[in-house]
């Protein structure tokens, strides 16, 4: 069984959540959220992601969920053309929400926002790739109606 408690509802009035394009000033918080999950602080990597995916670049998306200046989560993805012979489709290759802010529908909003961007570019399919044992994120994508794609990821050791 998957277990994760719903965080206690925050007291007082909570600023509205806004999903918008990531900016340089958000990077510290994005690095912190990612480090909380992966255990690695990758400031340079995220700087590079912002450079390549930020600023409303054609076909590329780096969005954050902003609640009164606090970044609660992010999503990164792009539209890929004819990869391995498949028609252009949206790819989500990173999504995360702060542990304290989870189960409040934030990832759902982030995914919806990036999918809206994909739709605007005329694609009608969104894909992602995950570690088989990442039950949490797999359950999230499944809950959003995603099913197995007609692909099989393969690998081998290069010796």
């Amino acid at each position: 069984m998957i277990s994760l408690k719903k965080p206690a509802a925050p007291r007082g009035s909570v600023p509205a959540l806004r999903v918008r394009g990531a900016q340089t000033a958000d990077l510290d918080q994005v690095v912190e959220i990612d480090a909380g999950i992966t255990g690695l602080r990758k400031a340079e990597y995220w700087g590079e992601i912002l450079r390549r995916y930020g600023g409303g670049r054609q076909q590329r998306f780096f969005l954050v969920a902003d609640r009164g200046g606090r970044i609660e989560g992010y999503v990164v993805g792009d539209v890929r053309d004819w990869e391995f012979g498949s028609p252009p489709c949206g790819w989500v290759f990173g999504i995360a929400v702060r542990p304290e802010a989870r189960l409040g529908g934030i990832a759902t909003q982030l995914l919806e926002a990036i999918c809206e961007g994909f739709r605007r570019l005329g694609v009608d399919k969104v894909r992602t790739l995950l570690a088989r044992d990442n039950q949490l994120v797999l359950s999230f994508f499944r809950s959003q109606g995603m099913m197995a794609a007609p692909f099989i990821p393969l690998e081998k050791d290069l010796d």
Partner: protein, 146 residues
């Protein structure tokens, strides 16, 4: 992959309960709706009860109520009660059909390699069952209905 009959009965009934949280449903009702043998279903419901997924309702009429959390209970939690899918990675599978030593090293090698491929498939199946909650399953049924 093929699921056993009891697993099917369990999935149908657990999803029926999950779709009607708080409602008391009798075994007879479920058996009639899904055209199952009430006898088999009774056994399955007892197993679901022992696993804490349904609770026997007290009082007139009997029946059961859903006792799990549909957004957290996964297909694996249900299927795992009826199927032996917990074989550890790399463990010899399908012992009954393994090449016997007298069959020779060649057959054994092939069997081993086939085992590697089959366990790849098993791992994917398990990951899939673990990632789909009852709630997600109900949504899937609803989408397919439309």
């Amino acid at each position: 992959m093929k699921l056993q009959k009891n697993t099917h009965l369990a999935l149908c009934s657990v999803l029926e309960f999950a779709a009607h949280p708080g409602e008391q449903l009798s075994a007879a009702e479920i058996a009639a709706k899904y055209r199952m043998s009430p006898h088999h279903l009774a056994k399955v419901l007892r197993a679901l009860g022992r696993a804490g997924l349904v609770r026997a309702a007290r009082g007139a009429g009997g029946g059961y109520r859903f006792a799990g959390n549909a957004r957290r209970v996964t297909l694996m939690d249900v299927i795992g009660l009826f199927e032996d899918i917990s074989a550890p990675k790399g463990a010899p599978r399908r012992a009954g059909r393994r090449a016997r030593p007298e069959a020779g090293a060649a057959a054994y090698e092939v069997e081993e390699a086939v085992g590697v491929v089959l366990s790849e498939i098993d791992e994917i199946a398990k990951a899939t069952f673990r990632s789909i909650t009852l709630d997600t399953m109900l949504k899937l049924i609803e989408r397919r209905r439309r």
